[in-house]
Symmetry: C2
Subunit: 423 residues, 2 copies
């Protein structure tokens, strides 16, 4: 009787992965006043983004990948398989950042996929299918206002020309900025549907830490609804206008903020999360009752039905507020809306099995944030590996942190998943 050795796993190099993450984080770094830490500001299509892209492409070429850049500036590094007819396995994420970022969001997925290829090279592993490392353009959406922009164009949800015509806060056009940094590539903006897509990402939340798991299997992305609410009131002198004659746009907006939290606390909408991130008034003077207030409302829900109920009830509250205050007018604009995106069961099973075989405990959980994987899910079987974060999983903040061990754990799971999918 022969006892078979445990299956060999890809030799992911934790130190190499970490030093790549830290090297990329130097590009766009700044001293963050709020935290006292060095933060990262590498927003899409800035000079910093271009420098980050050049660093990444250099590493891809060193790893023997064939690099192509598409018309959206999405960067692909391809490692050939043994079967010329086989569809590839794509793994990636993004390296653009918000204005006050840490080192991990997005970067772990891109540099993790790169590390998988490096480990395959080190081990002399060949796969039947090609493996492609993808780095998507403007995932954060903070500069041009639409998140997952690069992957949304690649998968056909957003037309290329519409993306090109988006403008940043300074009025600069996406298409022009893409050309300016030298990343308006020749390849088609539409990606051919791959065999599968897998993305490793920090959780950006506290659940894995609370449950004691280094990695998680992501079952899908919760529904997201963004609206901009503009309240029109009437400007009036703070000292002379009797309270009963006021049509106070700022007060009405504040009532919306408080009400939205009451909706969350009521429990009537399941696991609803609600955020008012933006609040401004006009004319914004201490002694003038606001004639206008503008807020954003970000709703998330893992259940499409409960999301619809929350949206309807919020709309009813706005209508009531308008009725209660003659002269008040409330406008709403839906600025983003995606239903629940369920991930592919088979890819989830590959991830879970890889974690199990590597000896990591894991759990299935839903993503609260949007990711490029939800765009790829529209054209190919897709799923994600989540990596535990520290400090309650704080993200979009220089305090964002996952340990070198947990990053390596996530990338080892990614590696085995890719290996399994690529055979």
């Amino acid at each position: 009787m022969t006892v078979s050795a445990p299956p060999a796993t890809l030799p992911v190099d934790s130190d190499r992965l970490w030093s790549s993450l830290m090297a990329l984080a130097r590009i766009g770094e700044y001293p963050d006043a709020a935290t006292g830490l060095m933060g990262v500001n590498r927003q899409a299509l800035t000079d910093e983004d271009a420098a980050g892209r050049r660093l990444l492409i250099g590493w891809m070429e060193d790893a023997g990948l064939t690099v192509t850049i598409d018309a959206m500036g999405n960067v692909f590094g391809r490692r050939e398989g043994t079967d010329p007819d086989a569809l590839p396995v794509v793994a990636g994420s993004h390296i653009d950042s918000v204005g006050t970022a840490g080192a991990f969001d997005g970067c772990l997925g891109v540099l993790g996929a790169l590390e998988v290829v490096r480990a395959m090279n080190d081990a002399g592993v060949t796969t039947r299918r090609p493996v492609i490392v993808a780095s998507w353009t403007e995932e954060e959406g903070v500069r041009f206002g639409t998140d997952m922009l690069g992957s949304a164009v690649a998968t056909g949800r957003i037309p290329l020309e519409q993306a090109y015509d988006l403008r940043d806060g300074a009025g600069l056009r996406f298409g022009d900025e893409l050309a300016r940094i030298g990343f308006r590539g020749d390849a088609s903006a539409h990606i051919e549907a791959p065999h599968a897509y897998v993305e490793c990402h920090i959780e950006q939340g506290p659940i894995l830490a609370a449950e004691g798991h280094p990695v998680g299997v992501v079952t899908g992305v919760q529904a997201i609804s963004w609206q901009r609410i503009t309240v029109h009131g009437r400007a009036a002198h703070a000292g002379t206008t009797p309270t009963e004659l006021r049509v106070d746009a700022g007060l009405a907006a504040a009532r919306i903020v408080v009400h939205v939290r009451q909706m969350v606390d009521s429990g009537e909408y399941g696991q609803l999360r609600a955020t008012v991130g933006h609040f401004r008034t006009e004319p914004s003077l201490p002694n003038v009752v606001p004639e206008l207030a503008e807020i954003t409302v970000d709703l998330r829900n893992p259940d499409d039905g409960l999301m619809a109920r929350a949206e309807a009830d919020l709309a009813a509250f706005l209508a009531q507020l308008q009725t209660e205050t003659p002269g008040l007018r409330i406008e709403t604009e839906q600025t983003a809306k995606t239903p629940v995106v369920p991930f592919d069961e088979d890819v989830q099973n590959h991830i879970e099995k890889s974690a199990y075989e590597l000896g990591f405990t894991t759990m299935r959980l839903m993503s609260g944030a949007g990711h490029d994987a939800q765009e790829m899910a529209a054209i190919a079987p897709s799923a994600m590996v989540f990596v535990r974060g520290q400090y309650d999983g704080i993200s979009h903040n220089p305090r964002e942190y996952s340990t070198p061990e947990d990053c390596a754990a996530g990338v080892r799971v990614l590696a085995e998943t890719i290996l399994g999918l690529a055979e």
Copy 2:
């Protein structure tokens, strides 16, 4: 038996007053999108303010006044009296405006006093005391952040150098801008205490219209308290951060706004008025829980004791809010604070008697807004004439309007009051 003729009154020219108001309103005019009307934007020490000052000074000189400009840019036009030792009667207001103004706020008091002098000239009237028409610099406080600035320096409440060092939103220094527009005058920044000060001004409120009086006798200015409240929370991802882990600065600020209105509605603080005119968040992104929110709170009360109670109760609410949400920190800064300023009883009697003799019904009322008269009240007997406004007395808005008849009524009352005080 002889029947005495009714006493002659000064021949105030309603048309001349109105055409002067309309001519001044052309300087700084702009098409106002919100109202569809032409508005006025003639903020202190802008080129428009300088042009307005030059127009005024030309008119003063045409009326035979001796013009002096002090080190704060306050403009004085003096008409001599017959008694070289008599202290003058000063009448005036301001011609600077907020960014979205009408034609009347301040201008009525300056051009009204000018019309009084013109009418005296027309009637060949001499007075024992000199009469001075005053136009104060930066009454609105919208550009350099401190209202009644010119009169506050003239009367000694604010040091000249402190005023010079104030900066506008673009970082420009008050003293430099004053010199740039050519209005840093040679006269001392400190005015000699006059015999009396009287100011005609639109009411900027609905009371005279509601009570059916064209003019009012102002008994004083209510107490004013301004504070800037800064709430420090913790930035967090809108999609991934569980509600119970959030320290939402924007939500806390919204709760303050709602609470302040509840304080007003409670009736516990008498005739308290409260306004949150300014509300902003950081980083102000739809999908980030605000780490900072900044609001202004403007409190007004005709009773100093009830104002103190309102301020104390608001401070207690802020402390409670901080205690309820671990991690939340609330800072407050008092940016303005004036107690109730009672006006002089004798000057009020002069105004009331003038209105009575001219056949105008009137009433006594307190001012909700601050005025230069409250600064002058610190050094000389002072009071104000209010003129009825239309549209609920809307002000700081292009819809601000008082009829030609009501403007003339106010200026006729001003004229007889000045005449009485100057004898």
